[in-house]
Amino acid sequence: MIALRTVLAAMMIFAASAHASAETAQEIVAKADAIRNPDKPFRTTTVLTEYRSGQPADRNILYVYSKIDPATRQFRNLARYVDPPRDAGKMVLLGSVLWFYDPATKDSVRISPQQRLTGQAAIGDVLTANLAIDYTATLIGEETIEDAGRQQRKCWHLDMKAATQTATYNHIEYWVEEGSYDPVKAKFYADSGRLLKILYYRNFLERLGGLRPTQAVIIDAVDSSLVTLVDFSDSKFQDIPDVWFQRDYLPHLNAQ
C-alpha cells in the first residue's frame, strides 16, 4: 500500500514537472495576463486607497478606459481623475505617447514615461500592462508561497527582464499559480536592482467575462509605512474608438 502511494506520488510529481516543462515561461505569463485583463476594450473604476502605518491616509478614484493597440498588442489607457475633487476632470493619456490634460486650463502637456510615475494614474497603467509583451520571462522553478490572504499557493516562480522601451520596470519577479494561471505575487525592481514594490493580487471574482482579481495590494518597499490597495469595480466592456487615444480627443471626453 505504501509502495503504491509512493508510486502515485512520484507519478504526480512527474506529471507536474512534465506539465511545467511543456509550458514555456512566456506562455505562463501570457495566460496570467489573460486572467488579469480581457482582450476586449473595457472601462473600470479604479479606487486607490493609501494606507500609512495601517491607517487609511489618502484616496484617489479614476475612470480608466483600456484598449489593446493592435500594433503593439499592449494596452493603451485613458485615465480620468474623479476624486479628490481638486483633480476632478484631469486626464492622463497613456499610449505610445503620453499626454496630461487639464480641462481647467484646456492645456495638453506631453509627459515622459518617468513623469507618468509621479501620478497615481501610472498604477492603473502598470496593472493593465501585458507583461508577456514587455518582458522576457525565465522559469526559475516551482514554489509554494502564501498569498495575500495567507493561503498556500503552489506557483511557478518566474524571472522577467524588460524587453521593450515601454516596460515600466527593469526587472520583475513573478509568481503564477500552477494550473489556474492566477497571478499571485510580483516584485518590481529598479534599474539599480533596488526592490521598489511588492504586489499581491486577491479577491478573485467574476469580472469582465472571467474570474479575475478585483484588488491589487501594492506594498512599497522603499517607504516601509506605505501600502496601497487598488480596487477595480464597475467594470464593463465598452466600445472605445481608437481616436480616444490621441491628444486632440481629450477635450471631448464626458466621463459617465
Binding site: T45, V47, T49, Y51, G54, P56, A57, D58, I61, Y63, Y81, V82, D83, P84, P85, R86, A88, G89, S96, V97, P103, A104, T105, K106, D107, S108, V109, R110, I111, S112, P113, Q114, Q115, L117, T118, G119, I145, E146, A148, G149, R150, Q165, A190, I198, Q215, V217, I219, S224, V227, L229, D231, D242, V243, Q246, D248, Y249, H252, N254, A255, Q256
Partner: protein, 461 residues
C-alpha cells in the same frame, strides 16, 4: 567536513528564516479588513471650489521711469467661487460652462463699489459629437494651442484673455482665461486631426483695462471678439513619435503660421519646439497704434521709441525640454525668442525717454509694456525660462513649484515660488512669493512691484 555541513545548514536555515520573516513582515503590512471601495464622491465632469487669497506687494520706489497711477496695490483680498461644469444633454450633446465669481478689496479701490464684485464668464458652449470622430462646438470656447510651457507663440487666442491673474506662473495664468465666441469643427483620425475655428467680430476693440475699471458683470467680448479670426490646424503622425502640428491663423485677414513638435528622448526627457511667424510691426508700434485706436494715447502723441511702422515678417519661438527625476521633480527649460520685442535700441530709448520725468511720456512708455502683458507676450526679445515642479516635496502631499524668467539682454529676472499643501481631499493651503531682480535700467529691475507675497486657502466640493 561535518562542521562545514552543519555551518552550511545553519546558514541556509538562517537565510530561510530571514526570507520567511521578510514574507511575514510584508504580509503583516496588508490591511486585511479593507473597506469595500466607495462609490465616487465627486463628479469627474465638474469642478467647484471656493478660494481666498491675501496678497501683499512691496513697491520699488527708485524707478528710472516713473509708473503712472494707479500704483500697484500694497494689499489685496480676493474671495472667489470657481465652477466648471460639463453636462451631457443627450447621447451626443454636451453643454460646458465655466465661470469665476469674485469679491475683492484692495488698497486704492473704493469700498463699497461695483469694483468689489466681479464675474468672469469664461466658457459656455454647446458641443455636438456628430459621430465618434467628428465634433462641432459653438459658444464661448477657450481654445488653447501650443506645446511649450512658458511662452506659446501658436496660442493665437491668448491675447487679452487673462483677467486679474493671481500668479505669474504660465500654467496657472490659463486657469482664469476668457474663451472666445466661436464655431469649431474637428475631425479625428487614428493618427491625425484637423481643426477649424471661426471667431466673428462682435464689437470694437476697447482700451486696455486697469485694475480699477474692470466691469462687474460683463462678458467682455471686447477682449476676445474685437476682430474676425480664423484658425486652421492639423496634425499627422508621419512615423513613430513624429507628429508635427501645423497652424494657419487669420486676424482680420492678416495671416500668421505656426508649428508644434514634440519628441520623447529616453524615459525622462521630452523635447519640444513651438514656432509662429507672420507679418507685423514691432511691439512699440503695435502698442502705440492700439493705444491711439482705443483712445488711450492722443492721436498726435509722438513715438518715443524708434519704432518701425512698416510691417515685416516676425518670428516667435519657444524651444525646450522637460526632464523628470526619480525623486518626482520635473524641470522645464526653455529658450524664448520674440522678434517683435524690445531691441537694445528700444531699451536705451525707453530708459532715456523715461529719465526726463515727463508724466505723459512715462504713461506712454508704460503703456507699451502694459500692452505686451495684455497680449501675453514678453517685452524682451530673448529670454530663458526654467521651471521646477516637485510633487511630494519633503513630505507627502506638499507640492512646490518655482520658475525664473531671465532676460538674456541684461540678465534681470523674475522668479516665483509656490507651495501647496493638500491638507485633505477638500482643503488645500498654499503660499506664494515672487520677486524681480536686476539693476534700475534692466527689464525686470525696472518693474514697479519688487516683491509679492500671497497666502491662500481653497475648499473643493
Amino acid at each position: 567536513m561535518m562542521r562545514k555541513l552543519a555551518a552550511t545548514l545553519f546558514g541556509a536555515s538562517l537565510l530561510w528564516s530571514a526570507g520567511s520573516a521578510q514574507a511575514d513582515d510584508e504580509l503583516d503590512r496588508i490591511p486585511q479588513m479593507a473597506p469595500p471601495p466607495a462609490a465616487p464622491a465627486t463628479d469627474a465632469n465638474q469642478k467647484i471650489f471656493l478660494q481666498n487669497d491675501v496678497i501683499g506687494t512691496v513697491r520699488r520706489n527708485d524707478l528710472v521711469v516713473a509708473f503712472p497711477p494707479p500704483q500697484p496695490a500694497r494689499w489685496e483680498e480676493r474671495l472667489f467661487g470657481d465652477a466648471r461644469m460639463d453636462w451631457a444633454l443627450g447621447r451626443d450633446v454636451r453643454f460646458v460652462f465655466s465661470d469665476r465669481f469674485n469679491l475683492r478689496a484692495e488698497d486704492g479701490l473704493d469700498f463699497p463699489s461695483h469694483e468689489d464684485v466681479r464675474n468672469d464668464f469664461r466658457e459656455g458652449y454647446l458641443a455636438w459629437a456628430a459621430d465618434s470622430a467628428t465634433f462641432f462646438d459653438i459658444g464661448r470656447i477657450n481654445l488653447k494651442s501650443g506645446v511649450a510651457l512658458g511662452f506659446n507663440p501658436t496660442d493665437f487666442f491668448k491675447t487679452r484673455a487673462v483677467v486679474e491673474p493671481l500668479s505669474a506662473d504660465p500654467s496657472v495664468l490659463r486657469e482664469d482665461r476668457l474663451g472666445t465666441f466661436m464655431l469649431t469643427g474637428q475631425h479625428l483620425w487614428e493618427h491625425a486631426a484637423l481643426t477649424v475655428a471661426a471667431a466673428p467680430k462682435l464689437t470694437d476693440p476697447s482700451a486696455i483695462y486697469l485694475n480699477t475699471n474692470l466691469p462687474s458683470f460683463n462678458p467682455m467680448f471686447d477682449r476676445t471678439n474685437a476682430s474676425t479670426r480664423i484658425l486652421v490646424k492639423g496634425s499627422v503622425g508621419l512615423f513613430e513619435d513624429f507628429a508635427p502640428e501645423l497652424l494657419a491663423f487669420s486676424n482680420d485677414g492678416h495671416w500668421s503660421y505656426g508649428a508644434n513638435l514634440t519628441r520623447g528622448i529616453g524615459q525622462q526627457i521630452v523635447a519640444y519646439l513651438e514656432w509662429a511667424g507672420g507679418s507685423s510691426t514691432d511691439l512699440a508700434d503695435a502698442a502705440l497704434t492700439y493705444g491711439k485706436m482705443t483712445g488711450t494715447i492722443p492721436l498726435a502723441a509722438p513715438s518715443l521709441l524708434p519704432s518701425d511702422t512698416t510691417p515685416s515678417f516676425h518670428n516667435d519661438l519657444a524651444a525646450g525640454f522637460s526632464y523628470t527625476t526619480e525623486s518626482k521633480i520635473t524641470f522645464n527649460f526653455e529658450y524664448h525668442y520674440h522678434q517683435a520685442g524690445f531691441s537694445d535700441a528700444d531699451w536705451t530709448h525707453w530708459f532715456g525717454a523715461g529719465a526726463l520725468h515727463n508724466p505723459a511720456a512715462d504713461a506712454e512708455l508704460w503703456y507699451i509694456r502694459g500692452y505686451a502683458a495684455d497680449q501675453l507676450e514678453p517685452t524682451a526679445r530673448e529670454e530663458t525660462f526654467l521651471r521646477a515642479d516637485w510633487t511630494d516635496a519633503f513630505i507627502e502631499d506638499l507640492e512646490i513649484t518655482a520658475f525664473v524668467n531671465t532676460d538674456l539682454r541684461d540678465f534681470s529676472s523674475f522668479a516665483q515660488a509656490t507651495a501647496d499643501y493638500y491638507v485633505s481631499r477638500e482643503w488645500t493651503v498654499g503660499a506664494l512669493t515672487a520677486a524681480s531682480f536686476g539693476g534700475k535700467r534692466t527689464d525686470y529691475g525696472s518693474l514697479p512691484g519688487a516683491e509679492t507675497f500671497l497666502i491662500r486657502v481653497s475648499r473643493y466640493f
